[in-house]
């Protein structure tokens, strides 16, 4: 999104008002004593302040801002909205980027440079976090005028529930049963042998001993048995508090993923079949984040 002059709001800063007061006092003195050199100084400073306003405007206008992505976080953590700022035809000095109610950051971007900025934002509750418009302001070059503009980038960030640890076993309503040896997945349970490494394979499974012997890069093959899975059930908790349940489930998802166990998630109206791995974990966390929330990402 390219910034135009129309969106920019100009306000004098406190120092600008102080400068104005000093200029007024100088003017009064010059008029009183008919001091022409005083007039010269007052008109020079006044003219410079006026011209600095155009430099302030040029400092902001023409900048192109693009929302890239936002890292999902757990509620209460600080996320970072990644934006890409193109300076275009001139240097952008001391521009402050902030989201409403958040501490922002200062950036200076050289002429024709494109800079990636990570705008921090604290999250409070799970769901889809929409931080509101990105606010840019700058007082450059004199600090007398504060130019502010708001950029509507439609930024969103997924916020997972806060993981809450609790008494073990409370959520283990349906431990997995059944399943046959046919349902095999690549997993860490039983060592099967070595196979050639291919990009995309889990780095943790590389057979480092083989590498150190100079035999090439292999990964260890395991066979996991799908009958050892855990079903994490929303309805298995004693507490009635939805957010608490989601937080507990979140914690359990993380724990299960950490131990590389196969797990499934059962929420009202939603069932995620057992699985494992990064994508599966994210899918579960996402379901928890968006549970009974209208927004969709």
């Amino acid at each position: 999104m390219v910034l135009t002059r129309k969106q920019i709001l100009i306000r004098p800063t406190r120092h600008g008002l102080l400068f104005l007061a000093i200029l007024g006092a100088m003017m009064a003195g010059s008029i009183n004593y008919n001091n022409n050199a005083g007039f010269i100084l007052v008109f020079l400073l006044g003219g410079m302040a006026l011209i600095s306003l155009f430099y302030s405007l040029m400092n902001l206008t023409g900048m192109d801002i693009l929302f890239v992505s936002a890292r999902p976080v757990f509620a209460g953590q600080t996320t970072a909205f990644t934006i890409q700022v193109q300076a275009k035809n001139q240097e952008r000095v001391a521009v402050h980027f902030a989201l409403p109610g958040q501490t922002g950051l200062w950036a200076t971007i050289c002429k024709n440079e494109t800079k990636t900025l990570e705008i921090p934002a604290e999250t409070t509750k799970r769901g889809v976090f929409t931080p509101g418009p990105l606010t840019l302001f700058s007082v450059f070059p004199f600090g007398f005028f504060r130019l502010r503009t708001r950029v509507f980038l439609h930024m969103t960030c997924l916020v997972y529930p806060v993981p809450v640890k609790g008494p073990a076993g409370s959520g283990r309503g349906n431990s997995g049963t059944g399943g046959s040896a046919d349902t095999r997945h690549a997993g860490p349970d039983d060592f099967q042998g070595l196979s050639m490494y291919q990009p995309g394979h889990d780095v943790g499974r590389i057979a480092w001993k083989a590498v150190s012997r100079g035999q090439g890069i292999f990964i260890k093959d395991f066979i996991a048995r799908a009958d050892h899975f855990t079903m994490l059930d929303f309805d298995a908790f004693a507490s009635r508090d939805t957010e608490y349940r989601l937080s507990r489930l979140c914690s359990m998802v993380l724990a299960a993923d950490n131990r590389n166990r196969s797990f499934g998630l059962k929420l009202p109206h939603t069932l995620i079949v057992p699985g494992r791995g990064q994508a599966h974990k994210k899918k579960c966390l996402r379901a928890l984040a968006l549970f009974s929330r209208k927004e969709a990402v």
Binding site: R5, F19, I22, M26, N34, I51, F54, G62, T108
Partner: protein
């Protein structure tokens, strides 16, 4: 350099540059104080020595203020004010940890710059002003730039300064001036010494060491001869036993003698001296505007001269052979009220005047007495006591011009010849490049005027009886203009004269630029002759031209950034038309939400609004959207005219 210390050098440079013009007027300890504090700060940047903490800073501030109070006592004047600012500016760099402190320091620096302008408005000070503003602005830009080098700040400051100059010149020329100030206050720091208002023995010889300028005089025609360079300022008619007092009765006699030959018009640029006296070549016959001609042929300004003043004077130079057709009339009564002072001098007068009734002869007798009795001319005459005339005539016999003039006038008055002492200046230093004379305070002089029934008041300079070369040589040893030719001057002297001439030309225009000059300029440009309205009209015109230029500039600049988005405009029109029939889109509604609202309330508009919304969303979000769709969308929005009631 870390974040905070990178600001120190620019700010200290700005402070040094701003304070520098004040150094001649500042006490030495303040200069040492400033140099020490700033020096420490700069050394600290390299060495990382500790900066004073808050407690030490307060102690330093208290010490500085105590020093100021000891120096200036309770005097609160311009010097004390500048001293205070210098003392504070010296320790200000120690507390620059926050942006606010740095900004306030820079704003203070701008204020220091203007105080130097009240000391002088010479060309050099005004040129220096630009340099000062440049350095300070570079510091201002630098502290608003959280990182980076000093150099880009300097360039930007220079650019903004250069771009502001046309605006400044325009405003300077058209900003309405007042005839007199807002409040009748004195200009701080200007005009220290002036001509004495009471002429005692020693009051002029005290001025011999003062090399400062009293005024400059430029002549339209040729320069008058050196023996005519008597600059008349004040007339003393009463003698109270120890000193002479002025007796000026303002009277309107300006209408006389305008047509007589020998009139010398000249322009005087008078330095401020806090009195109302104006000086002109002996004797002025017409008063400049804003001043009166007194009965004693002196000029008195209606306002005190608190700033440099330029005025036109017209004088008539009288030579010894010249006789007036109509002698002056005596306006006041004789002056000697007390007759018990200086008894010996009175006896001497009577013995000198014995046997003659002719005024000229009496004068010659007295002058002969001076030349024949070992009277000497000295710049450092001894102090005189209760009967100064007696002591001077019979004991010390050493005197400066006021001694001889005072004694001659006294003796003549005892002999019942009306005589008075005239105070002013004698001589002048010619600037060969500017064709004007500089008259310094040390050229102060006193002479006598005696009244003769046939010729009126005639000038007698008794100093010439004891020091005949006073006419050619100024008291400081420099020669009056006839003595030095341009070629004989040293290079430095020549350069000094040249720079002085440039400055005078500047000052004559710049400082003199006031209400009347402004009116003249505007009239030449063809704006109103009726008072006031022309200026106001011109100012308004200027301001409107400026506004137009600014808008034009913004328009030009805007077109290079981005044209307005036609799709957004189309959708805005769509929303506006729906709002007209009562369907307002709330700010939080997206196009889809709004479509649902419209469809719920006005099912009859459903298909058309859905089509338009769909096109809008496709243009905005679809990657495979043809360019022609934008045109279609706008055309469709323009055709879309929803009826107020359903079913029509």
């Amino acid at each position: 350099m870390n974040r905070d210390t990178r600001h120190a050098f620019p700010i200290i440079s700005a402070l040094v540059v701003a304070i520098a013009p004040h150094t001649p007027g500042l006490p030495a300890w303040i200069i040492v104080w400033c140099v020490f504090m700033w020096g420490y700060m700069l050394v600290q940047l390299k060495t990382g020595w500790p900066l004073p903490g808050p407690l030490l800073r307060h102690i330093l501030a208290a010490a500085g203020i105590t020093g100021l109070m000891l120096t200036f006592r309770v005097r609160i004047d311009a010097d004390a004010f500048v001293g205070l600012m210098a003392v504070m500016a010296a320790i200000k760099p120690f507390e620059m940890a926050t942006h606010r402190h740095r900004m306030i320091t820079v704003l203070l620096t701008y204020f220091i710059i203007i105080t130097s302008l009240f000391r002088s408005e010479s060309l050099w000070i005004v040129l220096y002003l630009f340099f000062s503003v440049f350095v300070t602005t570079a510091a201002l830009i630098h502290i608003n730039r959280p990182e980076g080098h000093y150099r880009p700040s300097i360039f930007l400051a220079g650019r903004i300064l250069a771009q502001a100059i046309p605006l400044m010149v325009l405003l300077f020329l058209v900003f309405p001036r007042l005839q007199h100030g807002l409040f009748s206050m004195e200009t701080p720091g200007a005009g220290k010494s002036g001509f004495t208002e009471k002429l005692g023995f020693g009051s002029i010889s005290r001025m011999t060491l003062d090399q400062s300028l009293a005024f400059r005089a430029a002549f339209d025609g040729g320069l008058p001869p050196p023996d005519a360079l008597y600059w008349r300022g004040i007339v003393f008619e009463r003698f109270d036993g120890t000193q002479w007092l002025p007796a000026d009765n303002p009277a309107d006699i300006a209408s006389v003698q305008e047509t007589l030959p020998g009139l010398v018009p000249h322009t005087i640029t008078l330095e401020p001296h806090r009195s109302r006296r104006l000086f002109a070549l002996d004797r002025p016959v017409a008063a400049p505007s804003g001043a009166d001609l007194t009965a004693g042929h002196t000029l008195v300004s209606r306002q005190r001269v608190t700033r440099k003043k330029t005025y036109q004077a017209v004088s008539r130079i009288r030579t010894a052979a010249d006789t007036e057709k109509k002698p002056d009339t005596l306006s006041s009564e004789p002056v000697f009220t007390q007759s018990d002072n200086n008894p010996k001098a009175r006896i001497l007068a009577r013995s000198l005047g014995k046997g003659t009734a002719d005024t000229q002869e009496k004068i010659q007798q007295i002058l002969a007495y001076f030349t024949e009795n070992n009277f000497t001319y000295t710049l450092t005459p001894p102090r005189l006591g209760a009967h100064p005339m007696d002591e001077f005539l019979f004991e010390t016999r050493q005197g400066y011009c006021e001694h001889y003039a005072g004694a001659l006038a006294f003796l003549l008055n005892v002999l019942e010849v009306r005589a008075r002492v005239v105070g002013g200046y004698l001589g002048g230093e010619l600037n060969p490049y500017g064709n004007y004379l500089s008259i310094r305070q040390s050229f102060a002089h006193a002479w006598v005027e005696a009244y003769t029934p046939d010729r009126g008041w005639i000038r007698i300079d008794p100093t010439l009886a004891v020091a005949p070369n006073r006419l050619e040589q100024n008291p400081d040893g420099s020669f009056s203009y006839s003595a030095g030719a341009r070629d004989a001057l040293s290079v430095f002297k020549k350069m000094g004269f040249m720079l002085e001439a440039v400055n005078l030309a500047w000052e004559a225009w710049f400082i003199g630029y006031s209400l009347s000059e402004q009116k003249a300029l505007l009239q030449r440009l063809g704006f109103g002759t009726s008072r006031g309205t022309g200026t106001v009209f011109f100012l308004l015109l200027t301001l409107s031209v400026m506004v137009v230029v600014v808008f034009f500039w913004m328009f030009l600049h805007r077109s290079t950034v981005k044209k307005r988005d036609p799709v957004a405009a189309g959708y805005a029109l769509f929303c506006k038309r729906l709002a007209r029939i009562g369907l307002t889109r709330s700010p939080d509604q997206g196009p889809m939400d709004f479509l649902l609202t419209v469809q719920a309330k006005r099912p009859d508009l459903g298909s058309e609004t859905a089509a338009i919304t769909d096109m809008y969303i496709r243009i905005r979000f679809s990657r495979t959207c043809p360019v022609s769709l934008t045109k279609q969308f706008i055309a469709r929005v323009k055709q879309f005219k929803p009826a107020r009631q359903a079913g029509q």
